[in-house]
Amino acid sequence: MRRALATAAACLLLAGCASADKGGLAGTMVAPPTATASSTMSSMSPGAGTSTMAMPSHDSNGGTVTSRRIGGLMAVPTTVLASTTWQGMRITAEARSAVAFLVDNGTRLQEVKPGPRTSFHLMVMLSDAQTGSPIPYAGVWATIAKAGKIVYDERQWPMIARYMGPHYGNNVTLPGPGTYSLTLLVSPPAAARHMEYAGVWLHPHEASFTFHWRPGA
């Protein structure tokens, strides 16, 4: 199986990571899943503050995502929506500022840009709960509903990014502020495995959460 890591991900994250690098904030900007943390980050520039290694070690739910308009752009502090563990796999859902990214349409890379109404960039990280190593080659389908009505329902792109490594994401547009349910269907990684992963993640797994979306002016 000649499947190099770099080519495996169908997406390459564009602008967000580069600015994070310059901001020097990596490793510090993951908000806990509470409403309070967002205010301390509201001055950051869009796309800043990428970090994945700072994933919470405990299961969480009910994160509050906020946004603030800065210079015509909608900034979303990187916020953990929820996280859980499945057979030693950490599943963490985060929101951050919507970004442009490239998708592989089979023959070339094609840019996907956030629209004016895009709420945030949803990222789902799958990683080994003990070592933190990202787990690629899996699949994530995210479904977001409000009061039982589905408002977002998409397979997430397998992606790579400088500070995150392999993850799964897409831009999300929500119809307005409120409480939403998030359901993630995680597909087993389609990859050769070292023996420590022989008996895990053999069937799809579903995890459901709640989060709050409070867009600013």
């Binding site: 499947r3 349409n105 269907l185």
Partner: protein, 419 residues
């Protein structure tokens, strides 16, 4: 069977329904009603009905290329058997089905229907082996609820209100215009769920203000299905002869697979070009101009699958599925239809095939899980047919017996009871 006895039967039925509606019926009376069913004479069947319940095609209109035009409206009613099945149950159901057959001509201008029985009916209620396995998830990107209903009644015709009226009569005991005979199934079956839908030019466009479809009305006006493409072309369908079970207790029967899929067409319509949609529906070697000229076959050569994987990094749904053909013929006969159930775009995927294994083979081919090992631009749900646009919510398998065996098949004493 004479008219006078029909009238008598109908009066009893109405009295029973009226009593039930009044809400004052004691349990003992209900049991008595069930017992009385054995004493009720079976209604007659119109002559000339096909032995196969699924023999619909001969009644269907054809387009100018000879493709069968599916009935425009469908309804799936799911039931459990009430209590322990007896020959009285069987007579109750058979009588209702015969009433339907006498009320409507067999065809889309009248009524078409099949009765299918689930795994649990045989194993749990009859304590025998089931001719169909329980359904299961068939890809790594689905986690469907596996329905455990005993019975699936698939109704179809060109008139939506007729299906609603038939359901009201069967499930609720409502009077049905033109019907003479018992219809209410409540003493034999417990209703569990109804799914509705439609297929045919214009209907998806008229019903596109639902979840899962962008609000700018992207569904083409003449499209028979939400995704905007034709389906059911003659050479893309198994024939009724090919799917008929040849011998044994279910001879002239077939197997039925029923899935409920959510459609999510925001990116289908919002992000893909015509060319990209055609590549994913058929094959990347097919152009929109060619697709528009398809007549009796969606020519999506499965032998070009390898080229699609390596050169195009995209595989098409028709192309991947066609790899499951046997001697060039598809294994399944699709009787699928779109739905707006729950305000959400969806697809009720009903397929008929000689064995459930034929369905599994077709679905596995459609998954094209092997493609990602040859080209990482393709995964189970990236650049892979229509896999990323359908989300399987529910699935079940049923056996559709012959018309003669359709009411409580394999029940001891059935043949004598229905004589």
């Amino acid at each position: 069977m004479n008219e006078r006895r029909y009238a008598l039967t109908r009066r009893r039925f109405i009295m029973r329904a009226a009593g039930a509606a009044a809400g004052g019926l004691a349990t003992g009376v209900l049991e008595g009603a069930a017992r009385a069913a054995t004493a009720v004479a079976l209604g007659a069947q119109p002559p000339g009905l096909p032995a196969r319940q699924f023999a619909w095609d001969a009644t269907l209109a054809r387009d100018r290329y000879g493709n069968a035009i599916a009935p425009r409206y469908d309804r799936l009613l799911f039931f459990d058997v009430k209590g322990t099945p007896t020959t009285a149950h069987a007579r109750q159901l058979e009588n209702a089905l015969r009433t339907l057959e006498r009320t409507y001509p067999w065809g889309p201008s009248g009524l078409l229907f099949t009765v299918g029985w689930g795994h649990g009916y045989f194993t749990r209620l009859l304590g025998t082996s089931s001719p169909v396995p329980p359904a299961m998830a068939l890809s790594d990107f689905e986690l469907p609820t596996i329905d455990d209903y005993d019975l699936c009644l698939h109704l179809a015709c060109d008139e939506a209100l007729r299906l609603a009226a038939v359901e009201a009569a069967l499930v609720g005991g409502a009077p049905l215009s033109g019907a003479s005979g018992p219809l209410h199934l409540a003493s034999a079956l417990v209703w569990r769920e109804t799914r509705t839908g439609f297929v045919g030019s214009g209907l998806p466009a008229a019903n596109q203000q639902v979840g899962g479809i962008p609000s700018d009305r992207p569904v083409p006006a003449g499209a028979p299905l939400y995704m905007g493409f034709k389906s059911g072309l003659t050479r893309n369908q198994a024939s009724e002869d090919a799917i008929a079970i040849g011998a044994g207790p279910f001879a002239e029967g077939t197997t039925q697979q029923v899935s409920y899929m959510r459609l999510r067409l925001d990116s289908w319509y919002g992000e893909l070009s015509d060319r990209e949609r055609v590549a994913r529906m058929y094959a990347p070697q097919v152009t929109p101009q060619q697709a528009a000229r398809f007549t009796v076959d969606a020519a999506s050569d499965p032998s070009l699958y390898g080229q699609a994987v390596r050169r195009y990094g995209v595989v098409g749904h028709a192309q991947t599925s066609a790899r499951a053909r046997r001697a060039g013929k598809p294994l399944i006969l699709r009787r699928d239809f779109d739905t707006a159930d729950g305000g959400q775009a969806g697809l009720h995927f009903v397929s008929l095939q000689r064995t459930i294994d034929d369905f599994i083979a077709t679905r596995s081919a459609m998954n094209a899980s092997d493609a990602q090992f040859h080209n990482p631009a393709i995964t189970d749900t990236v650049n892979n047919g229509i896999n990323e646009f359908i989300f399987v919510l529910k699935r079940a398998n049923y056996i559709i017996p012959s018309r003669a065996e359709r009411s409580f098949p394999a029940l001891p004493g059935l043949a004598a009871a229905l004589r």
